[in-house]
Amino acid sequence: MDLGFKGKVALVTGCGSQIGFGRQIALLLAKEGCDAVAVTDIIDDVQKTADELKKLGKKSIAVKGDITRQADVQSLVKKVMDEFKRIDILCNVAGGMANRVPFQDSKPEDWDKDFHLNVTSIMLTTQAVLPIMRQQKYGSIINIGSGSTRMYGHGVGNSYAMSKSMVDTLTKQTAFNEAKNGIRCNCVAPGPAPTNFLPGPNKEEMIGMLAKSIPLGRGATQTDIANATLFFASEMSGYITGAILHVSGGSVLD
């Protein structure tokens, strides 16, 4: 399927981890035909991702920055615009579980960490990119949500799951408000995957345990998430906006 990415410029956040969704989304966007893919993260490894994109023969820049800070986001978007003149696709991938304190012991400042990392970041990047997309009368925004919004009883991660519910609602609001400007916004909600989201070295073991209760019997791969994200990024989904798509092997069915 030709996803129609020729001539398109994408910006992907959370691209530093070499085992994360962001990097895989950036690479697939490039492989499927995007002209340029800008990548950002707070860690140095984001440069590795950009180097890999260039090896594919694509234009790329790595911008190191903290997307929970407005000044950093503004400077990021300015750099991308100076370099590539447009942004057709924004993939809001950056995020994580910043608060692992159980509910009973969580302080307001613990909760704020997750809201800040997962919601404020998307608010800032979206605010910065929307005026550009409005002017283009074209744009596709994909937010990475989480299956945790529909899973309970893990003890920790309450504020993480709540922050991702906010991402769902932010997705729908952005979709509704910006549709008239030709901008679509959708959310991909991953199930468990062997990314840095799972702490420690035994990621595959942890997934193996979780997989027993997943109808398809396995965890998610980076490619599973990237494929769904690319489809929403492309005009093949031109009539889909405001959707939350769970990519979780059937573990979320509501």
């Binding site: 399927m1 549709a179 109808p215 398809l216 599973d224 009539y239 979320v252």
Partner: protein
């Protein structure tokens, strides 16, 4: 994106209408690399669909069958399996609307409700139960059901139709949950309004002469004004996502209902 359809055989129901979703899905499956696409419907135009599928270079077989007749459905699936030995992809597209408007419950016609459930829900059940056992044997299979945005759009004023489509949402999730361990996925695509034959029933029985093209355009404009993306869906909009959900690119997605309605339905 390579959707991994090489060597795959698909069965698409409701593929007779020349401007419907079924035909567009069959053609897209063929263009994206399926080896064979079996098409079925109760109307004669089905042969045209098969001929058009063959033009893409894929094999095709048209099997006329009434989806509400379980024996006919079983014979249809048997014929498909006889010819192509397997069915990797099943697209349950057949369905229609038999009654417009909400009506007070005490004026409802019981037979119309039964017919609507027969056509939309039981038809899908007959086809699925005939196809799933050999998917289990293969340890893989992708089922795509066509639902409807009307499950969340009360002002469309369709009652038993929406109920039958809501049943399909749940049928999708249950099938996904139960058959997941056999490598069978099941997802549902819920279209918003589109220029298919579908609207004809909604206009049936209306008083006075049919609306003029100008009136139609005005009506459409009024309707579209309420749609966030400001346009109707096209058969291609529905076919693209259906074919993606049938493909290996979505091998970790199951039990999902995807609204393809221009932002009209956000649940």
């Amino acid at each position: 994106m390579d959707l991994g359809f090489k060597g795959k055989v698909a069965l698409v129901t409701g593929a007779g209408s020349q401007k419907g979703f079924g035909k567009e899905i069959a053609l897209t499956l063929a263009r994206e690399g399926c080896e064979a696409v079996v098409v079925t419907d109760v109307v004669d135009d089905l042969e045209q669909t098969a001929a058009d599928v063959k033009k893409t270079g894929a094999k095709s077989l048209a099997v006329k069958a009434d989806i509400t007749n379980q024996a006919a459905v079983e014979a249809m699936v048997k014929k498909a399996l006889g010819q192509f030995k397997k069915i990797d992809v099943l697209c349950n597209v057949a369905g229609a609307i038999l009654q417009k408007d909400f009506m007070p419950i005490d004026t409802q016609n019981t037979d119309t409700w039964k017919k609507q459930m027969d056509l939309n829900l039981f038809g899908m059940m007959y086809v699925s139960r005939a196809v799933v056992p050999q998917m289990r044997e293969m340890k893989h299979g992708a089922i795509v059901n066509i639902g409807s945005g009307s499950t969340h759009q009360f002002k469309m004023g369709v009652q038993v139709y929406a109920i039958s489509k809501y049943a399909i949402d749940l049928f999708t999730k249950q099938l996904a949950y139960v058959e997941g361990k056999y490598g069978i996925r099941c997802n549902c695509i819920a279209p918003g309004p589109a220029p298919t034959n579908f609207g004809a029933v909604l206009r049936e029985g209306q008083q006075g002469p049919p609306p003029s093209p100008e009136q139609m355009a005005k009506m459409r404009e009024g309707m579209m004004a309420e749609f966030p993306l400001g346009r109707m869906g096209t058969p291609a909009d529905i076919a693209n996502i259906s074919v993606l959900m049938a493909s290996e690119a979505t091998s970790y997605i199951t039990g999902q209902i995807i609204q393809v309605s221009g932002g009209n339905v956000m649940e």
